[in-house]
C-alpha cells in the first residue's frame, strides 16, 4: 500500500482538512474546560493554608506549561520549514506565536494576581517569573521580526532562525536567571516546597491543561487558514473555492 505522507503538507489540501478539524478541537476544548472548571471549583477542596485564592493555579499552571510548550513546538515547525523548505510549516510557526505570547501573558497576569494575596506583592524577581517575562520578550521579538518583513519567504526563514536561536538560549537564560536570583535574594519565598497536592487538584489542572491544549490547536488552525488564504490569494484554487461558495 502506498501512502503519500506529504499529501497534507501543501496548503491547498491542508486548508479543507484544517476546516474540518477546527470544530472538533473547539468542542474538545469546551468539554475539557467545563470538566476542569467543575473539578477545580466544585470538587477540589479549599486549601487550608491559601484559602480560596489558590484556585487561580488551575489557570496559571496550565498557561505557564503551554507558554513554554508552544515555544518549543513553534521552533520545531520553524526548523522544519527552514530545513525542508516547507511553506506550511513556517505558516504553522507564525500561527502559533500569538497564542504562545497570549499564554505567557496570561501566566504572568494570573501569577501576579495570585502573588498579591499570597506574598503580599504583585511582582517578585523570582527566577520563574523573570524567565517567563523574558520568554514573553522572545515571543514579541519573533512576532515583530515576522511582521516587519514584507516578503513572506524571507520573513518565514528569518523568523525560523530567530526561533532556533531563542530555543538554544532559553536554557542558558533560565539557569543564569536562577543563579542570579539565588545570589541576590534570600529564600524569603519558596515556591517549590509546596505541600503535596491532592489528586483531585491535579486532575483539575490536567483537565485545564488539556482544554488549553485543544484551544491552542483550534486557534492555530483558524489562524493558519487565514494565513494560507492571504498568501495564496492569487492562486487558482483559492479563486475556485470562493467562486463556488458564492
Amino acid at each position: 500500500m502506498h501512502i503519500n505522507w506529504f499529501k497534507y503538507s501543501s496548503p491547498q489540501t491542508f486548508y479543507p482538512l484544517a476546516g474540518k478539524m477546527i470544530p472538533w478541537f473547539y468542542g474538545l476544548a469546551v468539554l475539557f474546560a467545563l470538566a476542569g472548571l467543575y473539578v477545580s471549583f466544585a470538587l477540589a477542596p479549599t486549601d487550608f493554608q491559601q484559602g480560596e485564592a489558590y484556585r487561580i493555579i488551575f489557570v496559571h499552571v496550565p498557561a505557564a506549561w503551554m507558554s513554554m510548550f508552544i515555544y518549543i513546538v513553534m521552533a520545531g515547525w520553524a526548523a522544519f520549514g527552514l530545513a525542508l523548505n516547507a511553506r506550511l510549516s513556517a505558516m504553522m510557526a507564525q500561527a502559533l506565536a500569538p497564542t504562545g505570547a497570549m499564554f505567557t501573558f496570561l501566566a504572568l497576569v494570573t501569577g501576579s494576581l495570585w502573588g498579591k494575596p499570597m506574598w503580599g506583592t504583585w511582582w517578585v524577581w523570582d527566577a520563574r517569573l523573570t524567565s517567563e517575562l523574558i520568554l514573553l520578550f522572545l515571543y514579541l521579538g519573533f512576532i515583530a521580526l515576522q511582521s516587519a518583513i514584507d516578503d513572506p519567504r524571507r520573513s518565514d526563514r528569518a523568523g525560523a532562525v530567530l526561533a532556533l536561536v531563542g530555543v538554544v538560549n532559553v536554557p542558558i537564560i533560565y539557569f543564569s536567571v536562577k543563579w542570579w536570583n539565588t545570589l541576590h535574594q534570600g529564600s524569603t519565598i519558596s515556591m517549590t516546597a509546596a505541600p503535596k497536592m491532592v489528586t483531585i487538584m491535579l486532575l483539575g489542572m490536567l483537565f485545564m491543561a488539556l482544554a488549553f491544549w485543544m484551544y491552542s490547536i483550534a486557534v492555530a488552525l483558524v489562524r493558519v487558514r487565514c494565513i494560507i488564504l492571504e498568501r495564496e490569494r492569487s492562486t487558482e484554487w483559492v479563486k475556485n473555492l470562493f467562486g463556488e461558495e458564492k
Partner: protein, 222 residues
Amino acid sequence: MNSVWFIVLRRELLLAMRRRSDVATTLFFFLIVSSLFPLGIGPEPAVLSSIAPGVLWVAALLANMLSLTRLFSSDFNDGTLEQMLIAPQPLIVIIIAKIFGHWVVCGLPVILLAPIIGLQYALPNDVLLVLFLSLLLGTPTLSLVGAIGAALTLGVRGSGLLVALLVLPLYIPVLIFGAGAVAASQHGMGAEAHLSLLAASSILSLVLAPIATSTALRIAVE
C-alpha cells in the same frame, strides 16, 4: 583561509579609521549614559558603587547594541556583501573577521574606558580590574550574538529598534554574569566562576553564532 581573515579584518579596521566619528559615537554614548546615572541618583559614593556593576554593564550593552546596525548595512547597500556570499572562501571565516573587526572598533574602546568611569563610581582598584576583565571576556558574546540580530534585520524597515527587541533578551545571561562578577568582587567573593562562565559563553557563541549569522545573511540577500 587565514589570508582572507586578515584581509577582511584589515578592511574593517581601515574603513573604521576613515570614518572615525562612527567609533567616537559609540564611545561617547557609553560615556554619556554612564554619566547620567549619578546625576539622576545622587552623588553618594556608597550608592554609586553599589549600582556601578549593573549601570556600567547595561551602558556597555546598549552601546554595543546601537553599533550593531553598522555591522553589515553599508556592505549590504553597496553590494560588497553579495560578493562575500559568492566568494570561494568560506563565509563563516569572513563573518568572524567582520565581527572581530566590529568588536575591536566598537567594543575595545568601551572596555578600555570603563575602568576610568569606574573611578567616578568610587570603585576600588581590584574591582576595576575585574570590571575590565569581565567586559573583555563578555563583550565578544555580545558582538557575536548581536551579529545574528543585525543579519536578520538587514534592510528591514525600523531595523534599529527591531534589533533591540531581538537581541536584548539574548544579552541577559551576559549581563547577569558580567555584572555578577563585578558585584562578587565588591563583596569580597571570588569572581572566577563568573569570569569562567563569561569566557565559556564567548567560546560557545564563537562556535554557534557565525553559523546562524551566515544563514541569516543568505536569507537576507537571496
